[in-house]
Amino acid sequence: MKNFKTLLLNEFMQQIHSFRFVLTLFVTFVVTVVCVYVQVVDFADRQQTYQAEQTKAIDKSKQARIYSEFNVPVFIKPNPLSIFSRGFDEKAGNYANISVFELPELKSSSQKSNPFMEILENFDVINIVEIILSLLALFIVGDVISGERENETLKLVFSNQVSRTEYFLAKYVGSLITLVIPLLMVFLITSLFITFHPLIMLTGLQWLKILLLFFSGFCYLSVFILIGLTISARVFPAAKAIIVCLVVWITTVNIYPNLVNYTVSSLVKIPETHQLTAEIKQLNDEMQKKIDENEKEVPSGPVTCSNCSFGPITSMIFLGNKDFVLRAEKLNALNLPIHFEYQGKINAEKKRFKQQLFHQQKTGSYFLQLLPNFQLYNGSSIIASTDFKSRDIVLHNSLEIFRSNTMDYIKSKDGFGFKFFTPMKPEQLRNDFNDYTKEEKDLYSNYKQPLDISDAPQFYFKYKLKIPVDILFLVVLNAIFISLGIRIFTHARVH
């Protein structure tokens, strides 16, 4: 390897003096500035929406006065690393309602003013590396070896004490150093945008994660450089090598993933959404039927009630006489188990439907696992904690745990009756009874005992650090392509 340094420097100098490199820098700069600007503005919007909604959510939970009204909206804080790897940060939804009966479902609160902007908003920093830089990498290295073979420079090089391995590795490292420049540019521009934006504050760990994302991009580009060099070592002439590189790129980035998606969705069938809706409707009808039967079983008597409702389905008693309250209490006791039973069934149906979606998604990922772009996408979203598992499954589980804790809390307060959660002061409550008889006042004051809900469970979610296994796959893929490239070039013609 005595000529490695000379070859490496030559390759690097050649690359940075080429028009293609200048073009690469220009394209990367323009794309990065535009995309990162849109990403940062979008993140700032999401951050502002989050802060506003969070304040509203806290107020709303304090206003609940009965268990069925206890509806806590949980907003998920936008992740600043989604600027780098958007993943499922927004796709999986950013808020959920924690209620007594229904399982929490993540929904999206944002309303896009311009749907066409979504194209840019979905194009994050990792997409720039995954799509733009990988294409430019192949464009730069596609004819590195075949071009030298074409103009016979390769023969001149190998008329010296240069081994094939040494030459291939020098070309690889030289091209890699060249392409690190636009990669570094992408990350530096993004970091500058983030640093100078008043709404974005990153922790030390997040900066460390950005470094790890840079490393992922580095490994990814390295794979494409190796693919390009291997093609260049095998395919001749140079123009053909460039075309083969482009075909490989289109296949890897577009054709193969789309083909897998199409094949998997054809082979692994999932039920239609309207089927789920129909099943839920059927269960609701059954439940309603049973509730109606209960209504008939409990005699109504001389009930007076204005502007009132009750029971697990509805929520409050504003005004009503003693008979009304007593009947409501009986019905509540009868209907509550029915309600829980049917909501359990509905939730199970929803879960089953979702699991089928996961199954389809998982089957597709088996076929995509070997693709470097899939590994980069998955790995970087794991690093940024915007991956599907963190954003949907783990978050969902946390929401369910939170809901379960909330239910336990309501039980512990004996809240599944007619007790109120209101944080209103007793004096204020008493003012509501001015028009009541003494008997009614006594009855209501019993039910309207204000409960202190300041100790209600709070939703707290922290993304767990995970090892980005996909990035390790990328490292392995690099090792495979290095040995494959050297092997192919050792047996390739130089003349």
């Binding site: 100098m13 103009n151 016979e152 023969k155 001149l156 090089v157 190998f158 004490q161 240069v162 130089v494």
Partner: protein, 241 residues
């Protein structure tokens, strides 16, 4: 010294490119290998440079078997190709610097390169110009400078005068004569019989992978080399017809 002992090359398609070539080029000798396209001239050079593996026999450079010790053997050989393209974005001096370093000459200064380029007749203003602006003749001169800078005892040239104007070709051959005087063994493959007559010490004619004739300078000057060469060429054409 360059030696080929029963050197044979048969390609995967069973085409016999070189058939048991026996050849020895001594120090201070210029050997011209003549022959039609596909006669095996370039195959011989490729075998000496270990770009391809022989299917029989061996090629030796200064006594070193190029198949067994390819890297070691390349210490003792320089090469000039038909089309010297080099790196177009680099200047002539930068190209020289790169190849000089590959050839093991790591301590040369800018002035050393300039001096060598002057020796081969390159104009001063071309030294720091990008090679993509050079004419073919100028590029060939840079290629020859690379071979000279390496200062290897053997020089292999594959049709270096093809496409050059007579003046540029004559200058190039003069440089080879100077190299010969320094004791270099020179093997040059060419169609250019007239140049061969001017400077060759020995001439070999190849036909269908075989070295069918070798003449010393005295012999070929006496025998009328053009006539012999044309006869071989005609025979080949008749056989093909």
């Amino acid at each position: 010294m360059l030696q080929a002992i029963d050197l044979t090359k048969r390609y995967e398609d069973q085409q016999l490119a070189l058939d048991a070539l026996n050849l020895e080029i001594k120090e201070g000798e210029i050997f011209f290998l003549l022959g039609a396209n596909g006669a095996g001239k370039t195959t011989t050079i490729n075998l000496f440079l270990n770009f391809i593996e022989p299917t029989g026999g061996k090629a030796l450079i200064n006594g070193i078997d190029v198949t067994k010790e390819p890297l070691e053997s390349k210490k003792y050989v320089s090469y000039v190709s038909e089309n010297v393209m080099l790196y177009g974005n680099f200047t002539a001096r930068q190209n020289l610097d790169f190849f000089a370093k590959l050839g093991g000459k790591t301590n040369l200064t800018r002035e050393d390169y300039y001096m060598r380029m002057r020796e081969v007749g390159l104009q001063e203003e071309a030294f720091e110009k990008k090679l993509k602006t050079f004419s073919k003749g100028m590029r060939q001169k840079v290629g020859l400078t690379i071979a000279i800078i390496k200062d290897a005892p053997n020089i292999l040239l594959d049709e270096p005068t093809a496409g050059l104007d007579p003046k540029a070709a004559a200058e190039l051959l003069q440089i080879l004569v100077n190299q010969k005087r320094q004791g270099k063994s020179i093997l040059m493959c060419t169609h250019d019989i007239f140049r061969a007559k001017n400077i060759a010490d020995r001439v070999g004619i190849m036909k269908e992978g075989r070295l069918v004739m070798v003449r010393t300078r005295e012999e070929f000057l006496e025998d009328d080399l053009e006539k012999i060469y044309m006869n071989y060429m005609q025979e080949m054409v008749i056989e093909k017809v």
